[in-house]
Amino acid sequence: MDDWFFAAMTSLWLGILTSSMPCPLATNIAAITYISRRVNNPRLAIGYGALYTIGRTVTYIALGMLLINGLLSIPSLSFFLQKYMNKLLGPLLILAGMILLELLQFNSGSNRLGQWIEKRADSWGLWGAGLMGVIFALSFCPLSAALFFTNLIALGVQYQSGVIFPALFGVGTAAPVTAFAVILAFSAHSLSKAYNRLTQVEWWARQTTGALFIFIGVYYCLVHIFHIIT
């Protein structure tokens, strides 16, 4: 039991270690700004953080179960995700940033689909945090791949834990982002209340998030698609 507990804590630590390394820095910044843009509503910001954590956790559980039960080959899955997810992430982040900045709009007058999308935009923002957790979790860099596919899966196989260890790893990878977002959401709320400028703070938070998404998306394209930056 002591060994199992130590292994479980190691899984959590591996997740925290992954999130604190330089390679997922860009996606961490994107996640933090996306979550904390709901500065007017701390509850919603926490909800965003929770769904982001759940998105990451569910992804690692799914991967852990498939790998630990031998349903997928670790080497091919690891290299596939490292190669293709980071390539896809760049264009996806640019498009998401354009939507946040309202450069792309779905509203087109009498278009029923456009109106339907617009009505649900808020709740999609919440689910968007979950989806972001899934996509960012799948975007392995060499270091996170080494920690997950080598160290964590080895622990999972040793203790036959395809759910708990990957879940703790997921919580660990999201913990600093979520914690920072909650602190930021609360402090921004107090600040905006103090200055009675809630609407402006909200507007700036949204613009900053959109601009950062585009900047990080362009960066990912230059690194992973065009290989201009290493």
Binding site: C23, S73, I74, G90, M98, P142, A146, T150, F226
Partner: protein, 159 residues
Amino acid sequence: MNAKTVITILLLAFVVGSAAYMIVSEMRDTPIPAENAEPEAAALQDSIPSTHSIAYYFHTTERCMTCRTIESYAYEAIVTGFKDAYDSKKLQWKAVNLDETENEHFIDDYQLHTKSVVLSKIQDGKETQWKNLDRVWDLVNDREEFIAYVQKEAAVFVE
């Protein structure tokens, strides 16, 4: 045309261009013909001892900063720690790009998960022993410990 429309068009063009470039590069990734390399490889083969070891560094076309550090520390460990064996080709250094089709088999051969350092021992043309030095990622922030680890493991292969 206002600034917002111009930015939108430029960004969409960048997204479409990136997607097109990604697809074209994937389609262009064809195996490099091995014929040209053969005479040189055969000439080199003559000077290699029948029992020798290889320290591989496996990477991909994308080279991250940490990955470059691992490569440089591992190379330093081999060259400085085993100068005689390195000069006499009893211990060789090979950096291999896994994105090249002819090298893809190494992923399954050595069960690689990411950029890795692997030691391999060859006796009379056959691989008799290999080890993936999976602690390189844990030790990359401590140069001395990293080099000591690689040298300790390589010593077993050079004996």
